[in-house]
């Protein structure tokens, strides 16, 4: 009997062991390695070695503050835009979707079965200066010939909004789906008008979805470089583009590692403050 309960106590550790080992070896250890690489000095020909050179951090913040701020700014715009776009839709599907709920959800997910790169290139085709959309409008004289969307912040933000929309729509749906319609009726019975019902009942109950959706949107957007690379121009370089260039083109590993670490630290700090602002207890359950 004693042996059995002993085994029972070990079971959860045995179950989690392989996955935890994997994440330790290939998530935790790499993060530590990256942090240590950021203090190395040298060049790609002679190799890099650890010298405790912390100035890479100050140099980086000096030279790339513009790209950091742009990533933050794009992240905020895209998160807000996606929240505004998807909220009415998720609300309607969750509360009024009836039997077709799953159909609508799958319709939202279906476009994302096509690879990210192909979808983004498709936008490049649509937004092209002489493409099917702008080209036609120019031919019939609605837009001046010089008008362009590609290589502007608008194109990058539009691409980001498109690509990360489901990351907001689904958590919102999950939160709103748990909302009991009886609560809304109760609010109305207690003489709330539509706006009051929304502000005092719907929104607070949707908050965990807003929180999860904002994180799932903001984090990948702030780190993205594909949209800026394919749809943007010289004025839309994001911090992800800088990291990619330092690591894959310049092979400057310490620099790339330092920027990555700053990005990661900034995001974790942001998540922490955001969770505090919204009230962690309620969000994490």
């Amino acid at each position: 009997m004693a042996a059995k309960s002993e085994r029972g106590r070990l079971t959860p550790y045995l179950l989690t062991l392989p996955g935890v080992l994997w994440l330790t070896a290939f998530f935790v250890v790499p993060m530590v390695t990256m942090f240590s690489v950021s203090f190395q000095e040298g060049n790609i020909y002679e190799g890099y070695r650890f010298t405790g050179h912390w100035q890479t951090y100050t140099d980086t913040l000096g030279s790339y503050s513009e790209q950091f701020l742009r990533s933050l700014w794009y992240g905020l715009i895209v998160t807000a835009a996606v929240l505004l776009i998807t909220f009415p839709m998720s609300y309607w599907i969750a509360l009024k979707g009836g039997k077709r709920k799953n159909l609508f959800l799958l319709m939202i997910l279906l476009p994302f079965f096509t690879p990210f790169i192909i979808r983004t290139l498709s936008w490049k085709l649509i937004l092209g200066d002489e493409g099917i959309f702008l080209g036609t409008l120019k031919n019939i004289g609605i837009l001046p010939d010089s008008y362009q969307v590609l290589a502007t912040p608008t194109a990058v933000i539009a691409g980001l909004i498109y690509n990360f929309l489901p990351f907001m729509a689904l958590p919102l749906y999950v939160a709103l789906e748990k909302l009991d319609p009886a609560l809304l009726e109760a609010a109305q019975d207690l003489y709330s008008n539509k706006r009051e019902t929304f502000m005092n009942v719907t929104l607070p109950l949707a908050l965990p979805g807003v929180f999860a959706g904002s994180l799932l949107t903001f984090i990948p957007v702030a780190g993205d470089f594909i949209n800026a690379e394919l749809l943007g121009g010289v004025n839309t370089t994001m911090i992800g583009n800088v990291i990619q260039r330092e690591i894959l083109v310049n092979l400057d590993y310490p620099e790339g590692a330092a920027i990555s670490f700053l990005l990661m630290a900034g995001i974790l700090l942001g998540v922490f403050l955001y969770a505090r602002a919204l009230g962690t207890e309620e969000l994490m359950g």
Binding site: L15, T16, W92, F113, L125, G240
Partner: protein, 293 residues
Amino acid sequence: MATTTERIARREPIDATAPPQKPRKRRKEWLLPAYTGLVIAYLFVPIAIMILFGFNNPAGRYNFQWEGFTLKWYNPTTLLEYEDLNDALINSLTVAIVSTLIATALGTLIALALTRHRFRGRSSLNLGLFLPMASPEVVLGVSLLALFVSINVPLGLVTIIIAHIMFSISFVVVTVKARTSGFDHNLEDAAGDLGADPWTAFWTVTFPLIFPGILAAGLLVFALSIDDYVITSFNAGGATTIPLWVYGASRIGVPPQVNVMGTLLFSLGLLYVIVSLWRGRKAEALAPPVGKG
């Protein structure tokens, strides 16, 4: 709700400029569904363009302007014309299949431990699983590369697979947990009371019940893996996958073959949607009609 008649009965002042309630309600009823339809249509715009340009007949590789309708890219010999694209396809499928199998197994085990057992370190594990999902892909890619370079691991398919398993485990745990948390433990106890040993009880009772969750997690990992560009680009070395090949090709023009492959992937997704809706309908028909809220 106070209707006009009630107000008259209570001698309350009636706001004559307020629109009557009924038509206003009517107007709102079509507004949200129409809006939802518009957003969904918007999501399909680039897909429609991708499919359309898979039927385009451009002179060279520059598939940018509509030149005329053709079906020739759907011919297997022209579809598989670029050997490096075929290699990329095979690599993508290999990576996706191997990562799906391993990540789903590792993640399911963690999900089972989290939902069925209380143990020390449970909440830190939950937080630890959240971290890879909260890290930007570019950081995950760079940190893994830093590790591989530091310990001189040659980059290639193996490092891509290691990376894909790493970023997928948390997603598997979340997906399977959603399924196992509603699980009725009495069923397992019942199996035990009927003389089944824990192993038999697991395979005959628990596993079939959580299998839909495992399947959903597996599909998610497959989709994440086949789609990934960012992390892969840092850990691929000389190996290419479909996203890497397409990205490289985008500088000189993406050939229509890529549109066709994208269309085929999309059709697989469509097939999955149709099958799951059909199965859902069947399950609904079989389920007792009571208690549906």
